[in-house]
């Protein structure tokens, strides 16, 4: 399947990544090549094959429901690009 420029543009929006015109052109042609390559998988018969999303036979790992120490607030907020009191600051969302 060929991947078109407008598909890449749509996917870039879903991924929340700004692309310049030049990037969009270059990445579209590279992604087309990669998608072409992975299309190889269409050759295989996968009827009745169960998908593997996790390799270990581990299910429902539980721990005791006990209080523990959480991350240090100051150390955690120290990395924030914008801090407001004890919160992460972001651009205004509601007008």
């Amino acid at each position: 399947m060929a991947i078109e420029k407008d598909t890449v543009q749509k996917v870039a929006h879903l991924s929340r990544i700004d692309l310049s015109e030049e990037e969009l052109r270059r990445l579209s042609s590279q992604l087309a090549g990669i998608v072409d390559f992975i299309d190889k998988l269409k050759k295989i018969n996968i009827e009745n094959i169960v998908p593997t999303s996790h390799i270990l036979p581990i299910n429902n790992v539980l721990r005791e429901d006990a209080c523990g120490k959480s991350l240090d607030l100051e150390k955690t907020l120290k990395n924030a690009p914008q801090r407001k009191e004890n919160f992460f600051g972001v651009p205004k969302v509601i007008e």
Partner: protein, 486 residues
């Protein structure tokens, strides 16, 4: 013991000199610092290098790794020290906590170096050229790549700027650079080592593992970093054996399989003949060798690039300019949602080319209309690849392959062709898809003097077999004693 060459020694050698009182921890640090100051300008194994930032705790205490410096890849959290995944988007990030592997190593007495090792941005790459700090240079030939993505860790160990190092392996990122740099690298079984504090790339594939000067150090390091962690629910509750007990065990009668799909077109002829010599060596040590088939081998790379990028596109959504790292915003207030435009600008400016490609590809294969055709199909083919290994391990103890189809390539040689770069992981990717452990050990040099790696794969949680075979091979060959002239 002369203290000027302590940087060239193994953990096992250093511990014995520390215990006998011949040397002190500070002697090791001094020797490493001096070496790094001499060669780092050429090798660039570390990022933001200005000394190694060793903080020595209680030098007199006598724990199993007391006084041993450990170098750490830039995607493993070390409290209060920069951990940036070699990405602009994480610039300046200093984690508020230690990864579990770091905590365990500190508890064993190790000295964690604050200066981190270079890597491909978010571990996306096979050459360390995708680092926002620029590439590392191979100690065996400075014009060549170190492999990747744990290239800085491998180069640091190979150039004796590190004693041992930690890396992470999602599709070969420990083994391939270990092979390119002539050192030992292990990807443990999925679930053997906790990933808490490893900045996630592809959560169904990632594992942390050691890069070392020999097999003995690798086994020793695994004794301390393995085991259950309540912070990582994928980390298995399976007993950790003393891996060093496997060293020196007889390998007579061990059954090894050679998959014919790994010795076909695309394999460098010199690598091929060096591999056959290594296989003959193993035969001489009593290993029974037989040819087998892993019929779905050719699908491993496409399956990997769907699953790994899908998981990465989800994992990388956290880099959005809110909690850490870079934030980029338009100064003038335009129309539309300012929060969304902040996300887009931050990620557009913060991610390098390969990160963008992978997030886009992953989002594509997970998106409406493509999910069944790509992502779900890849998960099913993953089952077939896993079953191939299961069938072989019914009859054999291990599988032997080259680690990489080539030796270290030239810097810049593949950087404009992502697909060509992806194919350099062709022999390492399957182990991640199947969740099995695999080790790379040096097995010779090409006539240009570049190292070649031998890969051994075993059943899940059977690292002991890997160490047993790798150690027997290593001890009967001179390769691990060869040093790059730098």
């Amino acid at each position: 013991m002369p203290t000027s060459d302590l940087n060239t020694k193994t953990v096992v050698q250093l511990r014995s000199s520390l215990v006998s009182g011949d040397i002190r921890c500070s002697d090791i640090i001094t020797s490493l610092e001096e070496k790094a100051r001499r060669t780092e300008a050429e090798v660039k194994a570390y990022v933001r290098f200005d000394g190694l930032k060793a903080s020595i705790y209680a030098p007199q205490d006598d724990k199993p790794l007391s006084g041993i410096p450990v170098s750490v890849k830039d995607n493993i959290c070390t409290e209060g020290e920069n951990t940036e995944c070699c990405s602009k988007v994480l610039a300046g990030f200093q984690p508020p906590y230690d990864a579990t592997v770091i905590k365990k190593l500190r508890e064993a007495g190790a000295v964690i170096l604050g200066t981190k090792t270079n890597m491909d941005e978010f571990a996306f790459g096979s050459s360390t050229e995708n680092s926002c700090f620029g590439p590392s240079h191979n100690p065996w030939d400075l014009d060549r790549v170190v492999g990747g993505s744990s290239g800085g860790s491998a180069a640091a160990v190979a150039s004796d700027e590190a004693i041992i190092a930690l890396g992470s392996d999602t599709g070969g990122s420990i083994r391939q650079p270990a092979s390119f740099c002539g050192v030992v690298g292990l990807k443990p079984t999925y679930g053997r080592v906790s990933r808490y504090g490893l900045i996630a790339f592809a959560s169904s594939l990632d594992q942390i593992g050691p890069i070392t000067k020999d097999v003995g150090d690798c086994a020793l390091c695994m004794n301390f970093i393995s085991g259950r962690d309540p912070h990582d629910s994928t980390c298995a509750e399976i007993e950790v054996p003393d891996y060093t007990k496997s060293l020196g065990e007889d390998i007579k009668g061990v059954k090894a399989a050679i998959p014919k799909e790994y010795f076909v077109e695309g394999l460098d002829p010199q690598v091929k003949s060096i591999l056959y010599e290594a296989i003959n060596k193993l035969k001489g040590l009593g290993v029974d060798i037989a040819s087998v088939s892993l019929p779905h081998t050719e699908y491993a790379v496409p399956v990997y690039y769907i699953i790994a990028t899908a998981e990465a596109s989800s994992n990388l959504s956290r880099f959005d300019g809110v909690q850490y790292g870079l934030r980029a915003e338009d100064k003038e207030q335009g129309a539309g949602n300012r929060l969304v435009s902040m996300y887009k600008k931050t990620r557009g400016e913060g991610f390098g080319d390969e990160a963008k490609r992978r997030v886009l590809l992953g989002t594509f294969s997970l998106s409406h209309g493509y999910y069944d055709a790509y992502y779900l199909r890849a998960l099913k083919v993953r089952t077939l690849i896993k079953n191939d290994f299961g069938a072989v391990f019914g009859d054999y103890d291990c599988i032997i392959t080259p680690t990489s189809p080539s030796v270290a390539f030239r810097i810049g040689e593949k950087s404009n062709d992502p697909l060509k770069m992806y194919l350099s992981d062709i022999y390492t990717i399957s182990a991640n898809l199947a969740g099995i452990p695999a080790i790379s050990v040096p097995c010779g040099f090409t006539k240009e003097g570049l190292p070649v790696g031998l890969q051994i794969l075993a059943k899940p949680f059977d690292e002991s077999t890997l160490f047993k075979i790798a150690y027997a091979y290593e001890q009967s060959t001179p390769w691990h004693k060869m040093k790059a002239k730098i």
